[in-house]
Amino acid sequence: MKKLMPLWAACVVALAGCSSMTAPEAWEKSSLAKPEMTMGSDALGERFRQHIYTSKENASGGYGVGGGGCGCN
């Protein structure tokens, strides 16, 4: 648990130190427009997965609001 925090911090630092982390100009964004690069790709499949994990584990959330509940066990 506590061991994971330094790992995450290290990732953030490494990410910050990555080469050419300059905000992209409008003409440089063709990669960012690819479906696999967006945060919302495969909405239906992702919803299924989150539903399964939420019913088999205790943690939930982080992705959005408005899902509603279910009597899943």
């Binding site: 003409w27 440089e28 063709s30 990669s31």
Partner: protein, 317 residues
């Protein structure tokens, strides 16, 4: 000049909404392609774009006596500086930057050398024709200050041919984009600027002419955005005793370049792509590292017919 085909690919459901408008300008066969709009609207907008291309041709062609470039050239050696407007000044500034960025190879005063080279007759320059013209060549000799440009010696010439067509492609594309075109492209004799992908989101397949076989394509470059421009030794040339003499002249020597049969560059704007193809042809052996340092994608065929390429997708990142 260039035969560039647009491969249709698989027939899209929207095929009915894809309109092509052919016309000729700047000595080439040109086409405007608009998709995703009704025919009438597409036609209206295509006319506006064609008007823009013709406006630029009329304003910057050295073959039109009323053009800005002709006025500047006519005043060469008279001691008179010519005042130019913002658009012309921007292009002259661009040419000046490019002169520095290409270590002096890109030089819009090199047009004066055409007097020594007659591509129609197929004869080499007579005697010391080139030596006589060399004093008229050299961007550093041009007086460019404020909004006024002066060519100090009689016979000096400016030539926007190295980027004029490409600039027109970008301007025509902007005209269309500002008026709501999201899918389409502008193709001026092989210098192409994409406005947006096909309506189904797929890239346009842009064919690049094979430098030696007129009826064949060298490659197809898929572009959903950005521009593609090509320079080659097959546009205007003659062959003598097994050697080819093409229209791309080195401003330092006055002689044609031989290192590359064709160079195509992919960049966000056609102006940049076209300027870089010219510089690459002139750079010879150093062309590929130079293009990589400029962070553009390219397809180049060397003097032995070998193909070199750098990922075109990289150019747009």
């Amino acid at each position: 000049m260039f035969r560039v085909s647009l491969a249709q690919g698989d027939a899209s459901k929207r095929a009915g909404k894809d309109f092509g408008f052919a016309f000729s300008a700047m000595g080439s066969v040109c086409e405007i392609r608009i998709a995703g709009l009704a025919r009438r609207k597409a036609e209206q907008l295509a006319h506006l774009a064609i008007d823009e291309v013709r406006r630029i041709e009329a304003k910057f062609s050295r073959y039109r006596s009323a053009s800005v470039v002709s006025r500047i050239n006519a005043a060469a050696g008279s001691g008179r500086a010519v005042e130019v407007d913002a658009e012309t000044a921007g292009l002259i500034d661009f040419a000046a930057s490019l002169h520095g960025l290409s270590d002096g190879l890109f030089d819009i005063t090199s047009g004066a050398l055409r007097k020594a080279w007659d591509f129609r007759s197929g004869r080499l320059p007579q005697g010391d024709a080139i030596d006589a013209l060399m004093p008229l060549v050299g961007w550093s000799k041009v007086v460019w200050r404020g909004a006024r440009i002066e060519l100090p010696r009689h016979g000096m010439e400016l030539d926007f041919g190295g980027f004029g067509k490409e600039y027109a492609a970008d301007r025509a594309a902007s005209v269309l984009q500002e008026r709501g075109v999201n899918h389409g492209l502008v193709n001026l004799g092989g210098d192409i600027r994409v406005i947006g992908p096909r309506p189904d989101g797929q890239a346009w397949q842009l064919g690049v002419q094979h430098p030696r076989e007129r009826d064949r394509l060298l490659a197809e470059v898929p572009l959903a955005t950005g521009a593609l421009a090509t320079s080659g030794d097959y546009e205007r040339y003659f062959e003598l005793d097994g050697a080819r003499y093409c229209h791309v002249l080195d401003p330092r020597t006055g002689w044609p370049v031989t290192a590359w049969r064709s160079v195509s560059v992919v960049a966000p704007a056609c102006l940049a792509a076209g300027a870089l193809t010219t510089v690459a042809m002139l750079k010879g052996a150093d062309a590929l590292p130079y293009l990589a340092a400029q962070n553009v994608g390219y397809l180049a065929v060397d003097g032995d017919g070998r193909l070199h390429q750098r990922e075109a997708a990289l150019a747009l990142n």
